[in-house]
């Protein structure tokens, strides 16, 4: 038995506080509008799975745990957390996530408080769930199936004030 790490979280560009401070300093010195290229929304993606456990009352319950040993057929819960790290409000926030390769979107699983959710079969054209159609070989249209969804987009209806945090989530099974 080997305690292997089967989930890795590579932090591609966490803007450390030190870096952030440095960036602000440079922009201030150069007299450039600081919002121009500074990143205000920090985005974090994480993979979790549901775990059944017995709570302290002896009842069966479910909780989310970091994705461990994933095999075909398992369901992964993807959570994308957004945080406004700037002093000013961020507006028109849109989070987008392609359903990862080797995975299939689970029907009706996308959620995000305060968002309008749209879906895409090709990553280009997005539509709401009830307007999403797929083309048949003969050119006719039909409602799209969940398994055909390859990208999801969450559009926030309200701005993020300074320090605001929100998350969106969906489930996908490993093919």
């Amino acid at each position: 038995m080997k305690a292997a790490t089967s989930i890795e979280t590579t932090t591609a560009h966490p803007l450390t506080k030190a870096k952030l401070a440095l960036a602000m300093l440079i922009f201030a010195a150069a007299g450039v509008a600081q919002a121009q290229s500074k990143n205000c929304i920090e985005l974090q993606a994480s993979a979790e799975t549901e775990e059944q456990y017995t709570d302290d009352q002896g009842r069966a319950a479910t909780r989310l745990v970091p994705a461990g040993k994933i095999v075909p057929g398992n369901e992964v819960i993807w959570t994308i957390t957004a945080k406004n790290v700037c002093d000013s409000a961020a507006e028109n926030i849109v989070i987008a996530n392609p359903v990862p390769e080797h995975m299939t979107y689970v029907a009706s699983s996308a959620m995000g408080v305060g968002t309008a959710i749209t879906y895409s079969l090709d990553g280009q054209q997005f539509a709401s769930a009830n307007e999403l159609t797929a083309k048949e070989a003969d050119g006719s249209s039909r409602p799209a199936r969940a398994a055909e969804i390859r990208a999801i987009r969450w559009t926030y209806t309200a701005p993020f004030p300074k320090g605001a945090t929100a998350f969106v989530r969906y489930r996908a099974t490993v093919n």
């Binding site: 560009h13 990143n39 929304i41 985005l43 095999v71 075909p72 987008a96 390769e101």
Partner: protein, 328 residues
Amino acid sequence: MGLVRSIAAMAAGLALGATALDAQAAGTAAGTSIQNTAQVSYQVGGSTVTTSSNTSTVTVVEILDVVVTIASPTVASSVGATQQELVFTVTNTGNGSERFELIGLSAGVTGDDFDPTLASPAIYFDTDDSGDLSAPDTAYIAGTNDPNLAADASVRVLLVNNIPASAADGSRGRSQLTARARTGFGDPGSDFSSGGLDAVVGTTRAEGILFGEYLVQGFQLTALKSQTIQDQFGAERPIPGARINYRIIVTPSGTGSALAAVFSDAIPANTTYLAGSLELNSISLTDAGGGDDAGEFTTTPAPQVRVNLGDLTTTSGPQTIEFAVTIN
């Protein structure tokens, strides 16, 4: 066979494009990294910014699954027969390459009438892909040549038994094959590690168990021959010129059938076949061959009568053949 199948699967995958890699029954291959990066766009102070998240990675581990199938669940055999094979196929339905242990069991499989005896060796690979036990087939030696199957690959395995002389006609004897993932088997969800890669037991318990059955068919044809003599003086003396009437009753017994049974009987030395005397079930048959009816008299290679009895089972009942000769 496994190799051929996996090449075919690969070819199909190429034709269908990248996502077809997931089209195999086993699912996404063990060791595959699933990576996810989200994007966000927003406006601050009138400028639009787009940025990405970290890349979150999930690695698919090996799922251990195996399925055993049998070509014919029941095979006909006979009392005392040796080297009788049951033809199984072991398929790796997991998502990674895996070695499987094979186990044959004949004593104590429940639900049958007798225990076949495992031959030694008892398990062979159908090396020449002939579907039966033949000279080129390689014997299986546990731990030495365990089949190593890629995801979705399969191997044909022969389980070989001898049928005891005590097995009764119409009785059934079972023999079963078990295939188990070498990495581990047991309750679904049990985890094991395999060559540095984690492995989890799937819904098949990573163990395939299936029995086949030998049906002993003690089908027999018994022939009872009787004769009467009529001499030319009205008596029953076997003198030259006397006629001997032969009657042969062929009786099928036991289960099963004799396909295209042919009765033949040589004309005894110092006698001559009496032309036109051949009968089957009291119906005259011509002496001519060539299929005008079921019977014929022929002198090739030696004088004899022949009657085609067709397919015989016990329901066919006794078949009575009559012919006559004269003593020279």
